[in-house]
């Protein structure tokens, strides 16, 4: 994940804005690693959290081009070390009677929850850091994963005693 950066993009909550943002990435040849979008506490705005693959192109150019979109209000780059990142995963896994106990143990260790139970399957929910989700997925894989869905990460700056190192890109070029 070294070459990934998190952009927290505040946009106007209007029709077509997500298409403009996503379209810009494909139009300019940038790669999106993950993307999550939802309204903020102010219903005029939504926040798009984009994890970008900066090996495809420099982050500075991506943020500058993004900021040219009229509906983009503010862009904040969150450094992984200085932000709180969380992601949610839903995962349906084979759970034959013999394996079910082991699976539930793992779910407990990872502080996940069983949210659906079938005859020979369970659906598990786990929220956490992306790395924790990766570990969980790896440990459960041998049992047989039937379906898996991750949300893509959301992030906010980490609160520290000193001011968070939060680099606002907007209008700071010259």
């Amino acid at each position: 994940m070294a070459s990934h950066h998190i952009l927290s993009v505040l946009v106007e909550n209007r029709a077509g804005v997500l298409a403009r943002v996503a379209g810009l990435f494909s139009q300019r040849g940038y790669n999106i690693y993950s993307l999550a979008v939802a309204p903020t506490d102010d219903d005029r705005f939504s926040r798009i959290t984009i994890v970008v693959d900066v090996e495809s192109s420099p982050l500075e150019q991506i943020t500058k081009q993004l900021f040219k979109l009229v509906n983009v209000v503010k862009i904040t780059e969150l450094h992984p070390d200085e932000s709180v990142e969380r992601e949610l995963m839903l995962l349906t896994i084979k759970a034959e009677p013999g394996a079910r106990g082991q699976i539930m143990e793992l779910v407990q260790v990872f502080e996940g929850r069983i949210v659906g139970v079938g005859h020979d399957q369970v659906t598990v929910m786990l929220a956490g850091t992306p790395a924790k989700l990766d570990d969980f997925e790896e440990l459960l894989r041998p049992y047989g994963i039937d379906e898996l869905q991750r949300t893509g990460r959301v992030a906010l700056p980490k609160l520290e005693r000193q001011a968070p190192k939060l680099r606002t890109v907007k209008g700071k070029v010259s």
């Binding site: 500075e60 009229v70 209008g171 010259s174």
Partner: protein
Amino acid sequence: MKLTGAQALIKSLEMEKVEVMFGLPGGAILPVYDPIIDSSIRHILVRHEQGAGHMAEGYAHATGRPGVAIVTSGPAATNIVTPLCDAYLDSIPFVCITGQVPYGSIGTDAFQECDTTGITRSVTKHNWLVSKAEDIPLIVREAFHLATTGRPGPVLIDLPKDISNQTMEWYWPTDADVAADLPGYKPNTKGHPKMIQEAAKLIAKAKQPVIYAGGGILKARAAEALRQLVELTGIPVVTTLMARGAFPDSHELCLGMPGMHGNYTAVTAMQRADLLIALGSRFDDRVTGKVGGFAPDAKIIHVDIDPAELGKVRRPDVPIVGDCRLVIEEMVKAVNDTGGSESQADRSAWITQIREWQKDFPLTYDRSGDDGSLKPQMVIETLRDATPDDTVVVSGVGQHQMWTSQYWKVEHPYTWVNSGGLGTMGFAVPAAIGAKVGRPDRMVWAVDGDGCFQMTAQELVTASSERIPVKIAILNNAYLGMVRQWQEMFYEERYSEVYLSPDLPDYVKWAEAMGCVGLRVEHPEEVQPAIDKANSINDRPVVIDFRTDSREKVYPMVPAGASNDEIVVDPSQGEGGR
């Protein structure tokens, strides 16, 4: 006052002081065409929607005011995508209005429905799908605001038919309303004072500087400021294809056009420069050649209103975000504050070197006339000398465009109109019409190729019926000439699908069928009389079919992908003189 959406749209355009719009009606835009009858705005009925778009662009190029085009939904909208993209790449202020199927029918594959805002999203600065009539005045104001401020560009308003028929209570939004509705749009026009100081310091020290003037100078109305900066510092200027006219070609410090077909001195001065002052230019690949080999020893001062241009291609030493005119004016002050012209480094050796290049490698072609063929460059020089120096010259895309840019002496801003970034063949005829509508006081000549002419010639019907007396010089070499040149030089003369025939169509008869005067020139001695005759006709368009030498190539040339050091000059001048 209650108005329909359609009436509100036309009234909003009137409030924006629109004097002319170019368009063609159809089903979804029908309600809007009714109030046009009663409006003060002149409507010019085009023959193809692409023509409407390029006319709006030509108008905007020549006047600096935003061009307006209005067309219907579906195929009309897709036909105008090319001009939108053209305007996007050349930063032309252009407001495009399209009809759309009724709001409730959107997404049902209704008759003449297409996803216009989706299709045009990547070729407009912004676009809107109107969802209620009461939004129309605000959207129109925002559209003109976005098209003309910051980095100018095209915008599109997609108006569903039922919204045009809805009634609304008329209002006109204030600046504050516009600002409140555009919370993410705040272009930075004033350059950072510290950066401008830094720039002045670099300028004073530079021994071999070049000003690299781009289209941003013209967009920012900064030609006068540029002249002050040049005369204060004595730094030579190159004017890119988009900046021809931003600095007069006759000025002793004007080196002309750089780039793939730029002249030797402009290209080489940039290569050897120790400082490039890029003003409203964007390090386009046609200027830089191979980026890694471009101006290797130069420090860069880069001024642009679009922050994304700074560092996009070449990392500047001094980046300045701002409006070119405001920044150059501040730069002039900063240079004056640090001692003015006296404190500038000694550049006499640099100027001497430049004069040598100019003497050794001028633009050249075979002027002898030995083989009796008609040289395209000679046609352009004759035309240039036979027209007033404030003539607006418009070109299409290809060899004729490069020759016109090379041989036309552009003396005034806004007298050179062409398609730079997108390279849109067929641009010239409609753009010339738009330019003439915007500047009826000026003579307007289009220099076009035979390939280009065939793409949009039908707009001469528009010109004839609207009494717009543009003049078209077709450099008819019976080929897609630029492609032919590449096939000759890089594909071992294997000519693939480039021959067009000089006689099919018969350009004279075609011109006459469209209500124009048609003339044909086959020999050098006929050039002057034909141009004189064309210049004397002012009540209709004129088309001259110049039968030019198809073997003629554009030199100098930097081969695609090569460094600018590998510039190839005219074969008569030897091996590049390095």
